[in-house]
Structure formats: structure tokens, C-alpha cells
């Protein structure tokens, strides 16, 4: 029994019966250049409750938070704070209204003391309120009181960087409280905390809740959500799916609500047949107890040539972290990796590429495209990197390569000389995929390859991958779209909360995956 699953939500159900919500969002709409990102989203927050906001990547959580905190302005809808309509137009305005946020990356100044961070921009001064002499003693005293309120006993004169991230996060909360917040928003606060620190944080949250504070808790860790929230609101694809009492919504139903049950559209091709020969071939890649402290618990994994292994899990389950470990972008500190039975240690991606691996990354803007370079150059990049500086793909060769893949994947571009930054997201994704296909890898790791691509194109890409698998290429396919994973994978590895929870054979249903994630036994 997970020790974090403790205090039930009963205390707050009483609060749920309390009269007026302290914060009410209704009909919120937001568009970016004509593309709707939020459609008719609502949120109700009562005093003295912890309200979890859940959804997958692209569901609109962060956009909603940005609207709440004044970073973005909604295109429509209304927001009421204690019954009064408000529209914060800047983070400062939101703070003044009493809406305080603690971000995932501690957004404080590491070079200042704890006290100075808490009072940044609002230092207590000697004499006049507008004076310029900081009353250091008073600041330290007040800071000390504030951190004490959340149960922290630290020296507020020390630099923030002297303390571990967990403490820094609590300081961020203390800062949020120092402005007499009525609503506290915590955006993924536990991503860098270990179990012990999470427990302490939750004690603090429960104490604050008892004092009447309303807390919006954004997280993708199911256990934690159930441990501490009273209510759950789920968003999906920018729309509001529903609001439930945590006690009324089981994990499986929650997952279903978050991921939806989209039936596989236009499934004109039959699912990949299991290649009998492939299942007997020796493993191409073997991970034994591979792990990295703080990122991934040790796990075992095997991939054979011609196999499509799906890696399923919710956001934050550790799939990208595993991909990075396999590809040499991060170094494991536990366990071993074998390629063709030989132990290897990848110090950088080039080592992995030389072994025939390829990684099509999730974040194409930061890790994928080299925006100012042309489509041709982007497609040729990885292959050229593997060939080294000396052996050069001449320009006509690059052009031919690029043309081939433009045709193959249907990349829409005015010319192969167009800077890749000008292409639409989906076409950029196709180009990055082309880059890696051009290296003719033995194992292709795809991290969310179909995100932001239209349905027809998705189909093409999946078919292409299946074709390559049949010709002997192994694929590790990471996707949040369970239907896709289920359709093409020979085997499905399921991750949850940074550890592997199980493996399912081909033909498993999405339900089975959800069940595994929800930690239920399922026949």
C-alpha cells in the first residue's frame, strides 16, 4: 500500500457543501491565431479545498492556468473571484487579486537570501512606505514567521541556492502566501521531489487547506492526486470533460476521461502481423536494471529486430526519460545497456547513432529543428553527422535525399530550400522523422511522432513505420494516443510514475493498458 495514499478527502467534502465558490471560471475560450485552444472551459473552486486539474499534454491545462494568472487574456468567458467579475491582465494584477502561483521550475532568484526572495519587489522599509532603505531585521523576522507558518524551520538569511529544491519550493509557497493569497495555484510542484519531500509538501497543503485556502493542484501523478485532492476537473483537447469529487472518480475512469476513447479512425490497414521470425531473433537492445536517479527507476527492457515495442504511460511517466537514456542524451547511473549482446555506454548521441539507434524527439522546436536551415539541410543532418566531417553528402545528394523523403512522407513545403522554421508543425515533424529515417537505423525511437499531425498524415506515418518494421527495423514507439499504440505494437511496455509497471502482448485492449496504469489487477 503506497504510503502516500493517506488522508482521505473526507474533510473537504464538508467544504464542498459550503456555499459560494471563491473562484469561478465559466465558458472560457482562448484562440491562438484562429486555432481554438480552450473551448467553453469551466472551473469552480471552493474555500478550503484542494482541487486537482488534470489532462494530457495539449489538453489546455497550462493555457487555463495562464488565463487565471493573467499571463494570457481569454478570448471569451467570465471569471469571478468571490462573486465579483475580474480579469487579471498581468501576473502582478493576479497577485494583487490574491491569486498566487508556484511554478514547476522554482521561479525565484537563487542568488538572493530566502527572506529577500519572499519579499522580492515588496521589501519592508524603514520609515516611509516608499523609502528606499530596506528594514533588514523586520524583513527577516516576517520571513521567518512566514516559513514557520508552513512548518519550515530554516535560516532565512541563507541564500536560496543553499537549500535543496524541495525547500526552495516551500519557500516559493511561502512567498505566494505572503501576499495574502486566497487562491494558490501549484503547477506540477512535485516533479523534482522524492517521496519524503512530497509527503512533507502535502502536510503543508493540508494545513493550508484547513486554514481555508483554496488550492489548484496541477499534476500528472495519479497517486498524489488521489492522496491530497478533494475534487478533480478534467480537460481534454481544450474542452471541459467534467468535475468530480475525488472520492467518486476511480482511477480507471479518470484515465478514460483524460485520454478519451477515440476509435481508431480510418483503419484501412490490418494491424501488423506478428513476424514469427523476429520473435526468435536475438535481442537487438537489452536494458538490464537501467535507471537514473530522480528520472527513472531501474527497469528491464528488450527489443528485437523488426519488433514494434509500444511505450505507454501518462504524461510524466518517464517515457521520454527512458528514450533519452537509451539514446545517450543522459547517462544512467544504474544498470546496463546491451546492443547485440555487447555492453555499451553511450556518452553522447553519436555513440548511439553509430550503433544504429535513432531518436525522433518529442520537442521538435527545441530538440529537433534547426529553424534557420533549409528542409534539405535538416533532413541530411543526422546522416551527415554519422558519416563525419570528411565524407560529405554533396548538395545534389542532399537534395535527392530530401526530395525522396518529401515525396515519401508527403511533406508540404514550397521547396526543399525553404527554412524549416517556416513549415507548419506537422510538416516539421515529418521532416525530423525523415532525418532519422535517412540514417536507416536498426532501432528507431519515436517520441510522440504523430503529435500535431492531421489524421491522414498520421495514417501514412504509421503505415510507413510498419513497413520499415517488416523489413527488419526495430521501433520503440512512444505515444499518448493509446489507440495508435495498441494498433501497431507487437508488445506494449507500460510505465507509470517513472517505473515500469508491466508488459502487455499484442492485441491487448486500451482498457488493459488503463488498468495497468491504474494499478488494478485485470484478467
Amino acid at each position: 500500500m503506497d504510503p502516500i495514499l493517506q488522508a482521505p478527502a473526507t474533510a473537504a467534502t464538508a467544504a464542498a457543501a459550503a456555499p459560494a465558490p471563491v473562484l469561478e471560471l465559466a465558458g472560457i475560450r482562448k484562440q491562438f491565431a484562429g486555432v481554438p485552444v480552450l473551448q467553453d472551459v469551466q472551473l469552480r473552486l471552493y474555500p478550503g479545498e484542494i482541487h486537482a486539474l488534470m489532462g494530457q499534454n495539449g489538453a489546455g491545462k497550462s493555457t487555463l492556468i495562464k488565463v487565471l494568472t493573467g499571463v494570457l487574456k481569454a478570448s471569451g468567458g467570465e471569471m469571478r473571484l468571490a462573486g465579483q467579475p475580474v480579469w487579471p491582465d498581468s501576473p502582478l494584477a493576479a497577485q494583487r487579486l490574491g491569486i498566487s502561483t508556484v511554478y514547476q521550475e522554482v521561479n525565484l532568484c537563487p542568488n538572493l537570501s530566502v527572506a529577500e526572495n519572499i519579499f522580492a519587489g515588496r521589501y519592508p522599509r524603514h520609515g516611509l512606505a516608499q523609502g528606499w532603505r530596506i528594514d533588514g531585521a523586520r524583513m527577516q523576522q516576517r520571513a521567518h514567521e512566514l516559513v514557520a507558518r508552513i512548518g519550515l524551520d530554516i535560516d532565512v538569511t541563507c541564500l536560496l541556492s543553499d537549500y535543496p529544491v524541495a525547500v526552495q519550493q516551500l519557500v516559493a509557497i511561502a512567498r505566494a502566501l505572503s501576499i495574502d493569497a486566497r487562491v494558490l495555484i501549484l503547477d506540477e510542484p512535485t516533479s523534482s521531489l522524492d517521496d519524503d519531500e512530497v509527503r512533507k509538501l502535502f502536510e503543508v497543503l493540508r494545513r493550508l487547506r484547513a486554514e481555508g485556502l483554496s488550492i489548484v493542484f496541477v499534476s500528472h501523478f495519479l497517486n498524489q492526486v488521489y492522496a491530497v485532492s478533494d475534487r478533480i476537473t478534467v480537460l481534454r483537447n481544450g474542452t471541459w470533460v467534467g468535475e468530480w469529487l475525488a472520492a467518486d472518480l476511480g482511477p480507471q475512469a479518470l484515465i478514460a476521461a483524460m485520454l478519451g476513447r477515440e476509435l481508431a479512425a480510418q483503419a484501412t490497414h490490418a494491424p501488423a502481423p506478428q513476424d514469427a521470425a523476429a520473435s526468435q531473433a536475438p535481442a537487438l537492445l537489452q536494458a538490464e536494471g537501467l535507471g537514473q536517479a530522480g528520472q527513472l527507476q531501474p527497469l528491464d527492457l528488450q527489443i528485437r529486430p523488426g519488433e514494434v515495442v509500444g511505450l505507454a504511460g501518462l504524461l510524466g511517466a518517464g517515457r521520454t526519460e527512458l528514450a533519452r537514456l537509451l539514446f545517450g542524451l543522459e547517462q544512467p547511473d544504474r544498470g546496463m545497456l546491451r546492443i547485440d549482446g555487447r555492453a555499451v555506454a553511450f556518452a553522447n548521441p553519436m555513440d548511439a547513432i553509430r550503433q544504429g539507434l535513432a531518436l525522433c524527439p518529442e520537442e521538435r522546436k527545441t530538440d529537433g529543428i534547426v529553424a534557420e536551415l533549409s528542409v534539405r539541410e535538416n533532413i541530411a543532418l543526422a546522416l551527415q553527422a554519422r558519416m563525419g566531417v570528411g565524407r560529405f553528402l554533396s548538395r545534389p545528394e542532399q537534395a535527392a535525399l530530401a526530395e525522396r523523403y518529401v515525396q515519401l512522407l508527403g511533406i508540404k513545403t514550397a521547396s526543399i530550400e525553404t527554412p524549416i522554421g517556416l513549415l507548419s508543425g506537422g510538416n516539421q515533424q515529418k521532416a525530423i522523422l525523415a532525418r532519422w529515417l535517412a540514417t536507416e537505423p536498426r532501432l528507431l525511437i519515436l517520441d510522440e511522432p504523430t503529435r500535431g499531425i492531421d489524421v491522414a498524415a498520421k495514417q501514412e506515418i504509421m503505415d510507413q513505420i510498419l513497413r520499415l518494421a517488416r523489413s527488419g527495423m526495430a521501433v520503440l514507439f512512444i505515444s499518448s494516443e493509446m489507440s495508435e499504440v495498441v494498433r501497431v505494437a507487437h508488445r506494449i511496455v507500460v510505465l507509470r510514475d517513472r517505473r515500469k509497471v508491466g508488459e502487455l502482448p499484442a492485441g491487448s485492449s486500451e482498457d488493459a493498458i488503463y488498468a495497468l496504469i491504474a494499478d488494478h489487477e485485470h484478467a
Binding site: 539514446f327 542524451l329 553522447n348 548521441p349 553519436m350 547513432i353 531518436l359 524527439p361 527545441t366 530538440d367 529537433g368 529543428i369 534547426v370 529553424a371 534557420e372 536551415l373 539541410e377 541530411a380 543532418l381 543526422a382 551527415q384 553527422a385 554519422r386 558519416m387 563525419g388 566531417v389 570528411g390 560529405f392 553528402l393 554533396s394 526530395e403 518529401v406 515525396q407 508527403g410 511533406i411 508540404k412 513545403t413 514550397a414 521547396s415 526543399i416 532525418r435 501514412e460
Partner: protein, 359 residues
Amino acid sequence: MHSSQTTSMPDSRPSPFHPAALLRHRLAWPVITLLLLLAVNTAFNPGFLHIEWRDGHFYGSLIDILNRAAPLVLVSLGMTMVIATRGIDISVGATVAIAAAVAAWLIGGSVSATESRFPLPVAILGALGVALLCGLWNGVLVARVGMQPIIATLILMVAGRGIAQLITDGQIITIYYTPYFFMGGGYLAGLPFSLFVAGAVFAVLYLAVTRTALGLFIQAVGVNPTAARVAGVQAGRLILAAYVFCGVCAGIAGLLISSNVKSADGNNAGQLMELDAILAVTLGGTALTGGRFSLAGSVIGALIIQTLTYAIYSLGVPPEVNLVVKAVVVFVVMLLQSPEFRAQAGLLVRRPAARRALP
């Protein structure tokens, strides 16, 4: 399946020699600037464009400019590579002085025109070797230790002059060894030899950048180091190589300069050359933020600066104005490249209603 429209329609695109297309070419503005400067020079000095054959070689103001520009061209080429990787090297002036000092020392202070302490090739290689070490030093600090380029190269800039002075014992070493003068003052096929040196380095670099993957890799590292790394590019080695190359270029420049003036001055050689080089690179169209670079642009930029200096001289304007003009030019170019400034300037010319509508 949608097919791309890449190879198809040659007729619908405008001819590449159409004025509008020409103007949009990256090198357009640098070339125009250079031509303007040449025109200004000719206006004030009718004999400016005059070239004649004298003493077995071409002779004229243009030849002079080309000869003096060669060291700057070399340093600018090196600086271009460093800037393309999002770095900067403000120690090139010091490296120039060090290289000159090493060469002078290796040749020795003998007053004889035929006597040299070490053979000439040794002197040249020694100087270049030391320059390479300087570049390596910078590269290690930036690529391996992770210092910010301006700080890392500041160290050599501070210490480098001292090192050069140490080698020359604080004196200006006059070189009497005649074979040494050929590099910076000699002529080959009627044209200054230094031109061939600069041309050779340019040619080698150009080939390296266009005929190997170097150009692609450096640009990728400059535009998006993370993506380049994921794609397998060895960013660390490239950055190190860029600084080493910059050092070597500075070394060659040092040889040319000291050969031209027949002496090695640890204090004044290469003084403020880093500024000229940065200016040349910027004028040539390479952005200081790294990424796409233009070798030809840097060459033209160096020529612009040399022609500008010449124009100022021939106009009889005092040398201090040279500095001011250079600074103003660099400044204006930076301003024009800055999006914030363009936005602010744009606001001023747009109509008030539009100004109000903007956030």
C-alpha cells in the same frame, strides 16, 4: 499523398539577375557599401583607381588597400567561424602580437640581412604553432570548461600583450632578414603576396565549409546547439576547432603585418584588431547571435573597413575620427539588426491609430 512543388516551375520564378532579386541577396548591401566607398575615394582622389606597372609589380592605391587588408581579412575569417558558433574572440589582437614576436625572436636580432637564428620555415612554423596554442587555450576554456566566450578570451587579451612584450623583451624588434619580408611586402605575379596568402586561406576555408560537412555542422550548432547535439553533431569539438582556427588566422596575420613593417611590436601590433574584425564580420552579414555565416561577406566587410580607413586618410580627416566613424557604423548595423529597435522605429513612423492598437 501530396507531392511537393520543388523541381517543377523554372519559368514562373523571376530571373535571378532581376534587380529586385539581386538586392535581396545577402551580399547586396555589403557590396553596395564597398562600391560607394570606392566611389567616394575616387571622387576625392582622381588617381585612386589608377593602377600601373612599376618595379616589376602592380602599383596603385587599390593594390595598397588590398595589401593592407589581407591581415584583417584573415582575422575576420577566423572571427566568422567563432561568431558562427555563438562565441566571440577578443584576444586576436594579442595573438597577432604574440605570433609576430615569436617569429621575430626565432629570426633573431641580427642586423645582417642574410642571417637568421633559425631557418625561415622554423620561424614561420614556430609562430603559427604558438598562435595555434593561443587558439587552443581559448577553445578549451569555452568548450571544455564552459566559460563565457567574452570572459575566456578577455583573459588572453589581458595576459597576451604581456606575453608578447616578454618575448620581445619590451623592445620593438627590427627584422633585417630579407627573406622574411616577402610574405607581407613581396609580390607574386605582380600582385602582393599577402593577397595570395589571404586568398589561399579563404579558398581552403571555403572548400572546407562547402565541400565537407563543416559548414552544415557549424551552422546547426550556432542556430540550435541542443537540436544539433541530438542529431549527433559533436558540438564541443567544433567549437574548439573554431577557436583554434581563429588563433591560427591571427597568427598568419601577425606574420604578414610584421613582415610588412619589418618589425615586431609587442605593444602595438594588432591593436584594436579584434574590433575591426567583429565589425567586418557584422558588416558582412553574419549575425552575432550565431548560425548562418558568410565568408565572402566577411571578406567584403574587411575590404570596406580598409577602404574606409583609406578614405579617411585621403580626406585629410584626423585619425581619431576613424575610430568614431567605425564605431558609429557598427552601431547602426547592430541597431538595424535588433528587432526591438526596428519595432520602436517602426512605431515612430506608423500612424498614431496603429500605434495605439499595438500592445
